[in-house]
């Protein structure tokens, strides 16, 4: 289980290969890459800056990965999240989950992404033509994360 927060870009293909390499129990590799779009809520976005809380961010992601591990039969998981200035088409986040079976890999990967969007301490500031703005939390992201609450 690996969690990294970094300013540098990542090589998704190399990360995916490394996570499953040498383990012949892996039958399923689910991955997700989040990418900077050039529009958000109808506005043109020239770029963004991601801020985090060094220490707490890594710890909270590690806790989320542990929770995913307790809920699904996963073999390994990787989360890489970038911070700092980013431009449209830049990669923001990579989540990779390996498992013997595809249902577990997909569920854990989507669970991790939903939690990264709603619980991990990251804040996004967008650069628009009329100036910069801090992005507000979305109700749809909270709804996505709420699916995973145990009742």
């Amino acid at each position: 289980m690996t969690v990294r927060v970094q300013t540098e870009d990542f090589d998704a293909g190399a990360e995916i290969s490394r996570l499953r390499s040498g383990n012949a129990r892996v039958g399923a590799v689910a991955s997700f890459i989040g990418v900077v779009r050039d529009r958000n809520d109808g506005d043109a976005v020239a770029g963004m800056t991601l801020e985090h809380y060094p220490g707490m961010t890594e710890r909270s992601i590690e806790a989320i990965v542990e929770e995913a591990r307790s809920r699904w039969e996963i073999i390994d998981a990787l989360v890489v999240h970038r911070v700092g200035p980013l431009l449209p088409t830049d990669q923001i986040v990579l989540v990779v989950v390996t498992s013997s079976h595809r249902g577990e890999a997909f569920a854990a990967c989507e669970f991790l992404m939903d939690y990264l969007k709603t619980r991990a301490p990251f804040w996004k500031k967008e650069r628009l033509p009329e100036g910069a703005r801090w992005v507000e939390a979305r109700a749809s992201d909270d709804a996505a994360a709420a699916r995973w609450e145990r009742s």
């Binding site: 809380y53 909270s60 990264l116 969007k117 804040w123 996004k124």
Partner: protein, 85 residues
Amino acid sequence: MKVTLLYFARLREVFGCSSEELELPPEVADVAALTEFLRARGAVFQTELAPGRAFRIAVNQEMASSHTPLREHAEVAVFPPVTGG
């Protein structure tokens, strides 16, 4: 009691501060009391930390509630709802 306050994102900008050391009076012993203490500074602290405004507080890097107690040398972070990934 000495604590370290950290501010992030929009609140860091509005408060014009990313980190400060505070000496708290003895009656400021939990998150609710600390929030009240900061509001009493007035100006942007009063506005941004008013009841009903969306902000979050973590104590020693764990999400806190208003009842979370404060201890000597606590690291208390105040920030907007997260907007990651």
